[in-house]
């Protein structure tokens, strides 16, 4: 009981609230700007935490994390440009809604669903962290491979204009993902003696190019005054109560997001796509997906934010980062003198609970701030293209540079931008499969290699382990289902 009292005292102090408000604001700005990722936001705030008390320092990082993952969708919805890769799945439906004049609704659904997902995973964090962590550990190389294959099978569900085109693009994305030093064998592939290519093609720069820069080219071609044509703008919002029809979808998506988040090494983007796919498969109106389905949006959004809470599970219970952002947070913990891991719960229970309940609070603070911001944000679509296009291009260039403090990423983004402009003209309208394959390629390939090392070359390893077998069966089922529906 005293623990709870201390925790509440910590959280409802002025300093804590200040930290949460500030962190959410910073995160929201960083997340929305295309190219500035969540990990950048957290890394930026890291030095500020050195002077703070441990729990407030961590709370700052946590609130930046949550809100930057959420706010990537703001730009995805309004200008067809995901602010973070996590929001790539929300882009298709979100922007379609904006074009129909329903930007406000899209933004509301995005916020509400994100909060739902965030709080869902926050509760899991609070109640079941150690158990979930143990379960997550059972994922070895074959299971990761299977998970990657399941992720790739999403391509089947996302290519509206034919499986073949989706596979071609996916194959292309997969090929690109092999560029660089293969970690498992150490072989240099397609690096052409350029040291920058040893790192491979970063999916964030590819994303900026394929979806943001190319969109700017499209806008130039259309030559319109603004991104959204003068459709009757529907400014009616969607409050929490109106979310009821979406609850089953959000629940399923949050579960998916929480599972993916708890498995170290995966990320929000994968969770969002998987949830999108699953929601589409079980939806009553699958034909709307990709064209402005609020249900699709709610699925992608809740999944992506559900990753934030559960990614903290392996971080806090095992000292292992769930994704790139929690890796930075881990460093923040260590510099503060805390050691996440099995002993953290025993040695510093007050701190641990402060963080976990603080996470829930961060989501609430974010919701309040975003509600205010959304009213202003939805007006962005009204800005004339004369301003929009140069500003977005500038943000893209800065964002791409900021990925690795290196101009090379900018070149990649530009190349992909031209690609993203030309490909639709060749008949490939939906470029998402490239991104999916680019992100998942390394996971699939590297874990395939590792599994074969462990099994001395035997392929049986994927089928004799129950977990990977189950996941592979789900993937097969998903693909077959997709093929059947086409007929």
């Amino acid at each position: 009981m005293d623990i709870i009292v201390s925790v509440l005292q910590n959280l409802f102090s002025l300093q804590a609230l200040l930290v949460l408000v500030l962190g959410s604001a910073v995160g929201m700005v960083v997340g929305t700007i295309p190219g500035l990722s969540a990990s950048m936001g957290v890394a930026l705030m890291l030095p500020f935490t050195f002077g703070m008390e441990a729990s407030y320092g961590v709370l700052l990082l946590v609130s930046v994390y949550c809100s930057s993952i959420y706010s990537g969708s703001i730009s995805a919805i309004l200008i067809n440009t995901p602010g973070t890769s996590a929001s790539a799945a929300s882009m298709m439906d979100g922007f379609s809604l904006t074009k129909q004049g329903k930007a406000r609704q899209a933004l509301d659904i995005s916020l509400n669903a994100s909060i739902f997902g965030g709080i869902f995973s926050g509760v899991l964090l609070l109640l079941l962290a150690p158990q979930i962590a143990k379960a997550a550990l059972t994922f070895g190389p074959p299971e990761y491979f299977a998970l990657g294959v399941l992720g790739l099978s999403i391509i089947a569900g996302v290519s509206d204009e034919g499986l073949l085109k989706g596979l071609i693009l996916g194959g292309f994305g997969f090929l690109i993902s092999t560029i660089g030093i293969d970690p498992v064998s150490g072989i240099y592939r397609y690096t052409f003696g350029n040291s920058n290519l040893t790192a491979g093609i970063d999916s964030v720069s590819a994303m900026i190019g394929l979806f943001a820069i190319s969109e700017m080219f499209n806008q130039l071609e259309i030559g319109a005054k603004r991104m959204v044509q003068a459709v009757k703008v529907d400014n009616e919002g969607i409050g929490m109560r109106k979310m009821k029809p979406y609850v089953p979808t959000m629940l399923k998506s949050s579960v998916i997001g929480s599972i993916i988040g708890a498995i170290p090494g995966t990320g929000s983007a994968i969770a969002a796509f998987m949830a999108y796919r699953q929601a589409k498969a079980s939806s009553k109106h699958p034909e709307e997906y990709g064209k402005g389905s609020l249900e699709a949006l709610s699925a992608a959004e809740s999944a992506k934010n559900a990753v934030t809470g559960s990614a903290m599970i392996p971080m806090m219970t095992l000292g292992i980062p769930g994704d790139a952002v929690t890796a930075i947070m881990l460093g923040g913990f260590t510099i503060q003198g805390l050691a996440p891991g099995p002993q953290l719960f025993e040695k510093s229970p007050i701190l641990v609970y402060t963080i976990m309940i603080g996470f829930l609070l961060a989501n609430i603070v974010m919701m309040l701030e975003a509600r205010v911001a959304i009213k202003a944000f939805s007006k962005i679509s009204n800005i004339s293209n004369h301003y929009m296009i140069p500003i977005v291009m500038a943000c893209c260039v800065v964002g791409a540079f900021a990925i690795n403090n290196n101009l090379f990423a900018v070149k990649i983004a530009l190349i992909f931008g031209v690609m993203g402009y030309i490909l639709p003209k060749l008949g490939f309208k939906n470029l998402v499969p490239i991104l999916i394959a680019l992100i998942l390629g390394p996971i699939v390939e590297q874990n395939f290699s590792r599994s074969l090392v462990l099994s001395d070359g035997g392929f049986g390893i994927f089928f004799t382990r129950p977990l990977s077998l189950i996941i592979l069966l789900i993937a097969a089922g998903s693909i077959l289902l997709g093929l059947r529906k086409k007929k």
Partner: protein, 349 residues
């Protein structure tokens, strides 16, 4: 009219792209390598006089490792206190440039302006292992070394309730079951991989290495029981040793901390201590001597700083200092030894 403006935009982009492509890769790399760069390229000309006014502006430490990792934390620890030991009270910023087995970031330091405003923080691998594969522009003695500041011992750990209680048990097991014992390692060119390969070479045994991306992935795999042993930095597994879940059987380095004071060392087995992931700071080639001296002195003094030492304790590492010449000597020595190991493994000719 619309077609023309799009065409113009695309052409402009392609031109811009080529322009960047052309400029970005040169050795004299003055573009974009550091965010803080001002257009003062005359600074190198000014340093030919005896009294050098350095530093005049902010210094950037490039870390070829991800934020939050142990090398990054060392760099940040210094970034916090170093300006107290340099004249003019400038700011010191840490910039992470990751990728390609640390090549991207190391290359950036290599191509940076040798004016003392861009320095690098590296561990052993980028200089003493990676260049052996022949794909990098830089090699073990291409840089101006500033100082070594710590050494993170690489260890081998197994699960507390496994059948192996000593490293000799492991070696015996490996002799009887070649290629059956699996160990996880955070990168093919990581110090721990080379160190363990060296041991295998000397003992004539074979174990299977499962290569991951970084120590935390290895830890995950180890905790999940997917590999028999964890090999990597002692700092990353400290929590589990203290909680009793893991036991460190072999200390491949020369640094000993409390939590593995009992572990067998390479020297106990009669071999050289090859598993030290020494961490230090480097500067681009041809950085003037006057600047190098200022930096070296600053780092040497910073090693006594209380805040720094406290951060070291938090991270779980010890201060180990070698000056410019000694550090370069160490790097070159390990480079030669690693060459032998890689040749034995058939990785290089």
């Amino acid at each position: 009219m619309k077609r023309r403006s799009v065409g113009a935009a695309v052409v402009l982009t392609i031109v811009l792209g080529f322009g960047l492509l052309g400029c970005g890769n040169s050795n004299t790399g003055t573009e974009g390598s550091s965010a803080n760069k001002e257009t003062e390229t005359t600074s190198s000309a000014e340093t030919t006089s005896n009294s050098v006014n350095y530093p005049k502006k902010d210094i950037e430490i490039v870390v070829p490792y991800a934020a939050g990792g142990s090398t990054d934390m060392v760099a940040r620890a210094f970034a916090q206190v170093l300006s107290n030991y340099l004249p003019n009270n400038v700011n010191i910023a840490v910039v992470n440039v990751t990728g390609g087995n640390n090549i991207v970031g190391t290359q950036e330091v290599y191509s940076a302006n040798p004016d003392g405003y861009t320095i690098g923080c590296i561990a052993a691998a980028p200089l003493s292992i990676v260049p052996l594969y022949g794909e990098t522009e830089f090699t073990h003695d291409s840089f101006e070394t500033i100082a070594q500041v710590t050494s993170i011992a690489q260890v081998l750990a197994v699960s507390a309730n496994s059948e192996w209680n000593t490293i000799e048990d492991v070696i015996t097991y490996a002799k009887e079951n070649p290629n059956a014992f699996t160990y996880g390692v955070g990168g093919k060119t990581n110090v721990s991989n080379l160190a363990l390969s060296y041991l295998m070479m000397q003992e004539g045994v074979q174990m299977k290495s499962v290569v991951y991306n970084g120590n935390s992935e290895v830890l995950t795999a180890f905790l999940g029981g997917h590999v028999n042993a964890y090999t990597g930095a002692a700092t990353d597994i400290k929590e589990y040793v203290e909680s009793g879940e893991a036991k460190i059987l072999l200390n491949m380095g020369s640094v000993v901390e409390d939590f593995y004071a009992d572990a067998t060392t390479m020297e106990d087995l009669g071999y050289e201590s090859v598993g030290d992931a020494y961490t230090g700071f480097i500067a681009p080639p041809d950085t003037p001597d006057e600047i190098m001296e200022i930096l070296e002195t600053a780092f040497e003094k910073a090693m006594e700083d209380e805040t720094l030492l406290a951060t070291y304790a938090n991270i779980g590492i010890q201060p180990v200092f070698l000056n410019r010449a000694e550090f370069q000597e160490l790097i070159s020595q390990t480079f030669e030894r690693n060459k032998e190991v890689l040749k034995y493994l058939g990785e290089i000719e």
